[in-house]
Symmetry: C2
Subunit: 492 residues, 2 copies
């Protein structure tokens, strides 16, 4: 496979696919809409998952595992939820195949194995989990219940894109139960903060925290909070959501508890999730025409060292020095690889690690060794520097921190430059067409206007930012009065 990457400006969608396929993150599979997450992509996901998992545990959550299958009648119990998910789900109707008597070597569904009640492959687990919570919660002493699950889910998407929208994807879903509405809202907001912290400080991607309009809410939620990120092509991407579910699911599944005041009350709920979609966001936010750019704190490989030599004697000297450096770096918790494979030239290796987004590359030649220096290239800016070998590990360690903050700052500057305040419909359309990004504008608060704006411009209301300043204004579309601006964008 050619390793050439289509430039961003030529074809953004193809650039994105090239990065993922040629960078070794994922591959298409034979199953419609499903992808294979390849080892390099999965190592990235493991780093993201492990950090999120630590953050969940630090906020008193525990993990559990609930069944893959949702009985059809469970989905029916919460009306809004059913409407949202019934149209796009994988349905198990039978539990056996048999030899096809008419076609040699073929199997067919055994009609005698039809299930009395169909099973849905979980698109999300509220129903299965709240059905279990009914048995687990009796008293206020059983609350709060703070449970998270790492799982695969399936939504039968018609148009799929690697990581961004796949039929099956990996995610975590938190499902918590509380004695009061206030406590549940607090949890919803707390987990939004955890997501924002993770995406900004580990993925180096600034986000705007906000709340969704009723049109954009999760099916079954009272309020959906979200974090919204901006991609380099000016489109927004929803990076995570946290839902206040009110008593919708506790009522649908009859989950009550005896309060401190000895009253039987329905439980209050939240759910929150992020998925492998975040990898798509990561790719689109930081990468360039040479390949992926992965923030050091979640990079599967942080440093690669490439030797440049002629003959075994030079190689042996370089090996010895590299072995020292690697030992020091590993002791500092830095992941490092020495690529001394003899079947590729250094230039090919440089391009390969650039493609894979390894944050720091070191090249050591015989002359460098003689001069006690090493060439260090940083992936984010592509700057190369010749650095003394003395204290090289501390230098690299600090460079990794520098790259991490530079990526965040770069993305933040881009994002700040792409939030445009507009006050007229003409301006609104023009900004979306020419500049893209978030458009901050007044809106009359109706779903009808929201729908029409979407029809005409493809832009949706990404969120009403938290702590949004209140100001008098007129809706850019209807001209009706408005009390605050909201953020519009064309989104992934």
């Amino acid at each position: 496979m050619s390793k050439e990457i289509t430039p961003r400006q030529t074809d953004h969608a193809q650039w994105y696919n090239d990065l993922i396929l040629k960078g070794g993150l994922a591959d298409y599979s034979a199953v419609r809409g499903c992808m294979v997450i390849k080892p390099y992509g999965f190592a990235l996901w493991e780093n993201m998952r492990d950090q999120l998992d630590r953050m969940f545990k630090d906020t008193s959550h525990v993990n559990a595992y609930f069944p893959l299958f949702v009985p059809r009648t469970f989905l029916e119990k919460e009306e809004g939820h059913a409407e949202g998910f019934a149209k796009e789900c994988a349905v198990v109707t039978h539990y056996r195949l048999k030899v096809n008597p008419d076609k040699k070597g073929e199997l067919m569904v055994d009609p005698e194995s039809k299930l009395e009640e169909e099973l849905i492959v979980r698109p999300t687990s509220e129903t299965v989990i709240w059905n279990a919570y009914r048995d687990w919660i009796q008293s206020y002493r059983d609350l709060p219940l703070l449970i998270n699950q790492w799982a695969n889910v399936v939504r039968w998407e018609m148009r799929t894109r690697l990581f961004l929208r796949t039929t099956e994807f990996l995610w975590q879903e938190g499902h918590t139960a509380h004695a009061t509405a206030d406590e549940a809202v607090e949890e919803t907001r707390k987990m939004l903060d955890v997501y924002a912290d993770f995406v900004e400080n580990w993925m180096a991607l600034p986000v705007i925290k906000g709340v969704k309009t009723p049109n954009e809410r999760f099916a079954g939620a009272v309020d959906t909070y979200c974090i919204e990120a901006l991609m380099q092509d000016g489109k927004a991407l929803q990076a995570g959501t946290s839902h206040f579910l009110g008593q919708n699911f506790s009522k649908a599944f009859d989950v009550k508890f005896l309060s401190r005041e000895n009253k039987l009350e329905h439980v209050w709920a939240t759910s929150w999730g992020v998925s492998t979609r975040l990898i798509g966001a990561l790719v689109m936010a930081h990468s360039d025409d040479q390949g992926l750019v992965i923030p050091p704190r979640i990079a599967p490989l942080q440093v690669v060292i490439v030797p440049i030599y002629k003959g075994d004697d030079q190689k042996a000297l370089i090996d010895a020095k590299v072995s020292e450096i690697m030992k020091e770096l590993k002791a500092m918790g830095v992941s490092v690889k020495y690529d001394d494979a003899d079947n590729a030239r250094p230039g090919w290796k440089f391009a390969e690690y650039e493609l894979k987004g390894v944050p720091v590359r070191m090249a050591i030649g015989a002359r460098d060794l003689a001069n006690n220096v090493v060439e260090v290239a940083r992936r984010d800016t592509k700057e190369k520097t010749t650095v003394s070998m003395d204290g090289i590990s501390a230098y690299v360690k600090s460079l990794l921190d520098d790259i991490q903050s530079n990526l965040l700052e770069r993305a933040r500057s881009f994002r700040e430059a792409h939030i445009t305040r507009v006050d007229t419909w003409e301006e609104f359309k023009q900004v979306l067409e020419t500049k893209g990004g978030f458009v901050s504008a007044h809106w009359d608060g109706t779903g009808e206007t929201e729908e029409k704006i979407k029809e005409e411009t493809k832009a949706t209301i990404r969120c009403i930012p938290l702590d949004n300043p209140q100001e008098e204004g007129a809706c850019i579309f209807s001209g009706k009065p408005s009390r605050e601006r909201v953020l519009f964008a064309v989104a992934y």
Copy 2:
């Protein structure tokens, strides 16, 4: 729910279920044959998974993720494999539900969403993975490919039991590709060793390594290696398998590579897996009539400290001391909890942590504090000792090691006492009926005899042990000549 455990002698199956349900490991779910793994059970699985994952990575394996769904035609490609799995699989036939026009509030399968080709929820992933490997492997330079996947799988079992046999279960499946048969066999054996190391040294459960007879082989394998453990009721349990798949899957999916000698050859394969079934083995191997007994190295909680006090003044003194001890223990990497909840008496707590199998319990009262001592109870032997506070952390740390090795030794003694050599059919039947355990006996090597023995006694050949001594003998059933003994047992 009553926390009383049915005694082992009264009803072994009920004892097992009581331990799992009342110990908080898992719960039944509303979905037939599927269970919910509760937080305590999942924390145990996380510890097991994380250690196995480290061992896989230490042996150069990487993780990846492949689709949940197997197209029906994939399953057909390897004949033996199809025969083994087609009879018990969840089949997805449709991708949409719609509102049932005849029944208000109900959903029904939308007949217009019928899939052209059915999708099977993976019972195992050889077919999906080998289909992907076709694109990933061209040359001997791409080999070996050493990939592992942590995933959920579904096998439609008619009779299910918590952890031991559930419709959906969690597992890992390694799938490796090699240039030569020898290298693939070596990998198969290496992973068997990894499993044995894990089960013996982390789960404290001795195992016998062996190879399966053709009747008991994995569907699609050339050879199936296994580790077999013995439960307290004298039944055997297959704790893990590692398969040499020959070229069966590379031929079925046309996966070839250009060898060093520039010849196009089919790739050699292995696969190997362990699952949440191991938790069932753990429960049955070590527990007693008071509850679970969990080996310290994988215990979700290793030490619990319970205060015994009257009034706030005593409590404050105990709190201060406990805080010191906990800090020390945590610094040593010991997981420890201070249970000072005021809604339960110490005696209730003692019973609760015994039920949950926490390896070490410490109780500290006001008088203990005055005497500078603490009461330490070990879960395995239920011995209580009064120990000086001086150096208590080092004492507890060493006690945990001691419990770990004691559990292994205890299980090993039991296992050794339950391997019985027999030379006649009468003896064979009698041992199985009265004593149970492994029966070491001569067998004529035919599947027919194996089948008949199973019909008459329910015993199967668990394995032909590795490095089995060769000795002349006569088959206990047919009297025909035999060159080695094999291990029979009634198994889970």
